[in-house]
Amino acid sequence: MKRKNAVAFAAVCAGLSLLTACGSGSSGSSGGSSSSGGAPSYNAGNNSVVNPSTKAGGTLNYGLSGVPDSTDPGSTYYAYMWNFSRLYARPLLTFKSAPGTDGLKLIPGLATGMGKVSSDGLTWTYTIQSGLKFEDGSAITTKDVKYAIERSTNYSPGILPNGPTYFQQYLTDPTYPGAFKDTTPDKLGLKGVDTPNDTTIVFHLQHPFADFDYLVTSPQTAPVPQAKDTGTKYQEHPISSGPYMFSSYDPNKGFTLVKNPNWTQASDPNDKQLVNTINVAFNVQAADLDSRLLNGSMDIDLDGTGVQTAARARILGNKTLQTKADDAVSGFLWYAALNTQVAPLNNVDCRKAIEYAVNKTTQQTAYGGPIAGGDIGTTVMPPTVVGYQKADQYSFIAQPNGDVAKAKSELQKCGQPNGFSVNISARGDRPKEVSAAQGIQEALAGIGVKAQIQQYPSGSNFSTYAGVPNFVHQHDLGIIMGGWAADWPDGFGFLSQISDGRAIKAAGNSNLQEENNPQLNQLLDKATQSPDASARNKIYAQIDQILMSDAVILPEVYAKSLLYRNPNTTNVFVTEAYGMYDYTQIGKSQ
C-alpha cells in the first residue's frame, strides 16, 4: 500500500474554507490552538504541542491492528513506519517536528544542510555530520548511506521487496544488481552514488528532478553497516542510528525499543529521547485497540489513521473524551477509480454518469462523516497538496446527493439508456471501504446500473487483484475502491503514480483506472524539469483538471483521522508531514 499520508504543503489554515481541522469542530469545545498551560482541548494537537514536557522515563505502549510490511528501513512503504522508523533509522534529511505548517519544513537529519544541486540539475551533493555513531559505537560514514540504498528495494527487491523504488528510477546505473549480488570487494558498486570521503555523498541523476531533497527523507537513506547486515533477517534488529534501538522482536507479537546510548542530543536536536522503553504490539484487533486506548492500557495507535466507529461515537458523544482527541487532516484522498479498459466504462460518458449518480453524502458517511471521514472531495489532489486548485466539475458540492437526471442523460449519451452491469472491487477487511462500495452500489441501482461488490484482502489487493490489470479485465472490475496519499508533498508526488500512463504496471499497479492520456504524460515530464515552483504548481492543477474531465477518478473524501491520545502522553502533536502524531517526540508523564 502506498504511503498513507501526504505532506501538507500549503498553509493548512490559511483561508481554505474546505478544511475544518483548524476551525472548531462541529461539536464540542472550540478547536484551534490551546496554550501550553491548562487542560488540552479538542483538536489541540493540530496546531500546538499538547502536554509539553521534558520529563524522562516511563514506558510508551503503541498498538497496531496488523503487522508492518517490514521494520527494515530499506523495505517499508507505510507512512507510519516512515514516521516511526526515524527513532532508530535517521535519514539524510527529515521534516521539522513542529505542529502546523512549520512541520513541513525540511531540516537536516544526518546531513548538515540541504542538498547542493549542480547547474545542469543532474548532481546533488550532501555532507553528513562527523562523529556520528551506530548503537554499537562504530562510526557512521556516507559509505553506510550508500550501502543502505544499494541493499534496499531499489536494487534488491528479491531480498527486500516492500519499499519504494524512486532511487532506482531517477539515479544513473539503474541496472545495478543490488548489494547482495555486488561483486566489488567493498560492495559499493552503485555508480549512481559516489562517496568521495566519509562525510560527502553525491547522487547522479538521469534527468533533472527538482524534488530530490524530498526523496532523501525516505528511510532508505538511513545508514546500514555492511558488516552487520543480515539481509532478510535485518528486520529483527536493524542497527540503530537514532535515539532508540531494538531490544526484542517477534514477527507476530511486536517489538521493544530501548534507549540508544550512542546517540547524542547534540547531533540530533530534532528528536527526543525521553521514555525508557517503547513497546509496539502487533495484531491487536482494531476495535479492541480503541478500547485499550480509551481505558489507558495503550497509549497510541501506531497506524495513525484514526479510531473505529464505536470509539468515534463514544469520543464525539462525551465532552471529556473529546478533549483528548484531534481531528487531523491526513492528506489522503479516498476515491473510486473508473477503469478505462472495462466496458462500457471505456466510454467517457458512461464514466461521467457514475460521477453524477453517486450520492456524495453517503460516501462521506461511509468513511466516517464530516468529522471522522473528512470533507467531500471534488478534485484529485486534496487541498493540502501543493498545486491544488479549487474546482468542482460535476457539482458535487451543489448536489451532494447526486444528480440522477444528469446521470441518466450521460447514460443516454454513452449508448446505455437502460443501464449496464459492472463490478466494484473493495478491500474486504476495511469496513469503511466496503460501506462506501455499498453506497455506490445503491446509488447506481437508482439509475439502472447493476453493481456487484467483490472483496479482496488488503494485504494482497494491489499485488494480486485490483492492482493487476489482467485480473481487472478478466473480472470486469470497472470500479476500484482505493485511497491515495503522496509519497512526498507536492503535486508530482501525489499525481505521478496514479495518472501517468507509463506507470501502469502488470502487478502492483497504482494507476488503477489505467489512464493513459499523452497530453497528461507530457505535462508530468514538463513539471519535473521546470525549476520554478509556481510554474510547476500550475501544471499540477492542469493535470488534475484533465483527470476530472476524463472522469477516470471519482473523488470521495479528503480524509481526516480522528486520533486519540492517552492523557499521560507528553509532547503530542500532529505532524503535517505524515498526517498523524509525530512519533519522534512523545514521552510519558507517568
Partner: protein, 336 residues
C-alpha cells in the same frame, strides 16, 4: 502392550502424512481452481512494484513453479533434514524440524509457531482445568440431585452456555469486565508467565472463563447424562446392597465408570484446542497459534499454513493416541 503402542504410533504417523498431503493439495489446488496463476501467487510476496523478472525470481526462490509432487517432496525433506535459505548476506540453515520460511516475511516458520505455542497452551490448559472441574462437578451434583432446583438451574445455565456464540460471550465479557468495570484492565494483553505471572494471569482470566464456560456447559450435560446412566447400572445396586456408604458408592464406583468416557472426550477436545482456539484468540487478540493460522491463511502463506496444520494435526493425533492407551489401561474390557 508394546506392540499395541507401536502399532498405534505407526498409524499416527501415517495419519499425519495423510493430513499433510491433503492440506498441501488443498492449499495448492484451491487458488489455482480459483483462477490464480503461479505468477500472481508469487506477486504478492514481491512487494508493491514488481516487474516480471522479479516476480519470476521469487517464483523460483519459493519453488512455486515446480509441479505439486516436487514441492511436496521438498516440504517433506525439509521437515526431516532442514533447509538452506539465502538471506542475501549468506546462506542460513534451518535445522529440522524445518517448516520452511514464511512467504510473506521470510522468517522461519517453526520458531514463529514455537513462540505462539505457549500462548495457546496457556489458554487451553488454564481453561481446561476450569471446565473440567466445574463442568464435571456440576454435572455430577446435578445427577445426584436430579429434579431439584439446583439441577434445573444448572442445566438451564448449561443450555444457555452452549447456545451462545463464543465470540459474543468473549466480547461481552470484555465490555463488562475490562471496559465498564475495570476489573481486568489488561485482559488479552498477553505477557509470558516467565516475565510477569500476575499480568499473565490477568490477561488470561477472561479468555479462560469464556472458553471454559462453553466447554463446562457441554461437560456438565455430558456428565449428568453419563452419571444418570451409570447410577442405574446393576453393579451400583450390588454395591449398595453390599452395605457400602452412599459416598463410597458414588465416588469409588459410580464416578469411575462415568468419568472414563468423559476423559476420552476431554483428551480429544484438548488436543483440538491446542491446535488453535481460533475464535477465542481472535476475539481477545491473543498471539497464539489460532491467530497465526488465520493470518497465514489470509496471506496465502503456504509454509505457515502447512506448519500450523501439521502442528495442530500432531496434537490431535497425539491426544488420540494417549487417550487410547489410557482407555486400554483403565478399562479391563479392552483387549490389545
Amino acid at each position: 502392550m508394546i506392540t499395541f503402542i507401536v502399532r498405534r504410533l505407526f498409524g499416527a504417523v501415517l495419519m499425519l502424512l495423510v493430513v499433510s498431503m491433503v492440506t498441501f493439495a488443498v492449499f495448492f489446488l484451491v487458488p489455482r481452481i480459483a483462477g490464480q496463476t503461479t505468477d500472481q501467487l508469487a506477486t504478492q510476496y514481491v512487494g508493491r512494484n514488481p516487474n516480471p523478472t522479479e516476480v519470476h525470481a521469487m517464483e523460483v526462490k519459493l519453488g512455486l513453479d515446480q509441479p505439486i509432487y516436487v514441492q511436496y517432496g521438498r516440504f517433506l525433506k525439509n521437515i526431516v533434514a532442514g533447509e538452506d535459505f539465502d538471506t542475501g548476506t549468506g546462506i542460513v540453515h534451518c535445522p529440522p524440524p524445518c517448516f520452511g520460511y514464511s512467504f510473506k516475511n521470510q522468517q522461519e516458520v517453526w520458531p514463529q509457531m514455537l513462540s505462539a505455542l505457549p500462548v495457546t497452551g496457556s489458554l487451553a490448559l488454564g481453561a481446561a482445568v476450569i471446565w473440567l472441574i466445574s463442568g464435571v462437578g456440576i454435572g455430577v451434583l446435578s445427577a445426584l440431585r436430579r429434579g431439584t432446583v439446583f439441577d434445573r438451574a444448572a442445566m438451564s445455565v448449561a443450555l444457555a452456555g452452549v447456545s451462545l456464540p463464543i465470540f459474543f460471550t468473549a466480547l461481552l465479557s470484555l465490555a463488562i469486565f475490562r471496559d465498564s468495570i475495570p476489573l481486568f484492565p489488561d485482559a488479552g494483553n498477553y505477557i509470558s508467565i516467565t516475565v510477569d505471572p500476575g499480568k499473565w494471569a490477568e490477561a488470561l482470566v477472561l479468555p479462560w472463563v469464556t472458553l471454559a464456560f462453553l466447554y463446562a456447559a457441554l461437560y456438565a450435560r455430558l456428565t449428568r447424562a453419563g452419571m444418570l446412566e451409570t447410577m442405574n447400572e446393576d453393579f451400583i445396586r450390588t454395591a449398595r446392597a453390599k452395605g457400602l456408604s452412599e459416598r463410597k458408592v458414588v465416588v469409588k464406583h459410580g464416578l469411575r465408570a462415568t468419568l472414563t468416557p468423559i476423559i476420552t472426550i476431554f483428551g480429544l477436545d484438548l488436543g483440538l484446542l491446542v491446535g488453535g482456539a481460533v475464535l477465542t484468540e481472535s476475539a481477545f487478540s491473543l498471539p497464539g497459534l489460532g491467530r497465526f493460522a488465520v493470518n497465514a491463511i489470509n496471506n496465502q502463506d503456504l509454509p505457515e499454513i502447512l506448519g500450523v496444520t501439521m502442528l495442530a494435526g500432531f496434537f490431535v493425533v497425539a491426544a488420540n493416541l494417549i487417550v487410547d492407551v489410557l482407555y486400554a489401561v483403565v478399562d479391563p474390557r479392552v483387549r490389545f
